[in-house]
Amino acid sequence: MRRAGALRGMAYGAEFLLLYLLQQVPGLFPEISHSLPVLLIPAVVTVAFFEKEVPAMVCGLFCGLLMDFGSGSFLGAKALEIAIGGYCVSFLASEFLKTNLLSAVVSTLALGGILSFLQWIFTAFFPGSSESGYLLLYHLLPRTLYTAVFAVPLYYLNRFLATRLRAPADT
């Protein structure tokens, strides 16, 4: 059981690292409305559908820290947001949501939307940017939608990992 858990953890870790590198590669993804997808968000959400709260939170923490290191902002800010996001999605998935593709896409939209809104609040609204509305409408909203598209392949990938790398007693 433990071995399967460790294997899953390693697989998720490798997946997150690969997605982080891919999302940072300049020119790999086409810009849509001046936005690029943040692949780690659907990755955390889809993993949270197949894992318990604490592992989902750890995944969120790992992805958030990667994003913090990449962005140069406050270290721990994104980590905190995505860790809570991972925890909540896992809780909702175990108690209220059906584990299917639609739920994963909607949850990605919800978490991506909340993260974008928080970013907007702290980087545009509170500093009093005259273009805060424009930023929200033409940058953050398209990015959220663009990011949610990647929930589809990542849902199937993480479902595959979660079911294949699980001890029979866990299922």
Binding site: L21, Q24, M67, G72, L75, A79, A83, S130
Partner: protein, 297 residues
């Protein structure tokens, strides 16, 4: 799931919240470059490989889009090139490319003997950054320091905003903080370059505070003036770096002055190979100026 199990996991979530809160406070109080530097050191080689792979994939995609005849002749040419390259050293390609890059800057270097240039490659672009900052593969170990100007062979790209041992983050002129002195090279009129999110999306910079009788007109070349701008970036860029060409002149929305829309000379959204000006005449004075005004973000 049992309630006890939820309580336990909630406790762990709270613990993580407290830990992350402490981490945020510590990085706000001190510099994050220690943590960031360590992680960058680990991730940089992977970023370099992924950027190179992406470049290769793009090149391959472009190849498949060409006609059969073109492909055949290109194939012949490439075979000959491969044979040739096989005889060379393993790092020949990199050295050759660097050499070609340096050649592009030869004119600039001859005009400005005081410039110390360092070639760098763009290895990452942060999708979470609203202003599209980039990461280059040269850091403090290579002589890069914070606020160093970054250029391409076409002109000014931006400045180094954060330095790690083996990589650096570069903020481009499309950032809201990019305020610096500029001059019309034809009329010698000066203004302050800045950028709004909307103008950046349209691909333009703004040269503000032009006099209402300005002679600045479409097609004029805009270069850095080297003048300091309070709360902006100016003063750190050396003089006469190409910024772009004037696209149009319009009346300002907020006062009686005019502003010019400037098309950047550099592709600010997708730069590839860049040069960092690690030293130039007047740099120390510019650094002191930044330090006394509290620097920029």
């Amino acid at each position: 799931m049992k309630k006890g199990s939820h309580k336990k996991s909630l406790g762990k979530l709270l613990m993580v919240c407290v830990l992350m809160g402490c981490l945020m406070l510590s990085t706000a109080a001190f510099s994050s470059s220690g943590f960031g530097g360590a992680v960058n050191l680990l991730l940089m080689p992977m970023q370099r490989v992924s950027a190179a792979l992406s470049e290769q994939i793009t090149a391959n995609a472009e190849e498949t889009a060409t006609s059969k005849e073109d492909l055949l002749s290109e194939n012949e040419g490439l075979k000959a090139q491969v044979n040739d390259l096989n005889r060379q050293l393993i790092n020949y390609d990199t050295l050759k490319r660097e050499n070609e890059e340096y050649k592009k800057y030869l004119g600039l270097k001859e005009e400005n003997q005081d410039y110390q240039l360092l070639a760098a490659e763009v290895i990452a672009k942060d999708p979470d950054d609203l202003y599209g900052s980039i990461t280059i593969d040269q850091g403090s170990r290579d002589g890069v320091s914070k606020n160093d100007p970054v250029i391409t062979d076409a002109g000014l790209l931006g400045w180094v905003s954060e330095v790690f041992p083996t990589s650096s983050r570069v903020t481009t002129l499309f950032h809201a903080d990019a305020k610096f002195g500029a001059r019309d090279s034809q009329t010698q009129e000066t203004g302050i370059m800045s950028c709004t999110v909307q103008s950046a999306d349209e691909g333009y910079l703004r040269m503000n505070y032009l006099d209402s009788t300005t002679k600045v007109q479409e097609g004029d070349l805009v270069v850095t003036s080297g003048l300091a701008v309070e709360s902006g970036f100016g003063g750190l860029f050396p003089r006469n770096l190409t910024v772009g060409t004037v696209k149009s002149v319009s009346r300002s929305e907020s006062d009686a002055s005019l502003y010019a829309l400037v098309q950047p000379a550099v592709d600010l959204k997708n730069p590839k190979d860049v040069m960092v000006i690690t030293n130039f005449a007047g740099k120390s004075a510019a650094d002191q100026n930044t330090a006394s005004s509290g620097g920029n973000s």
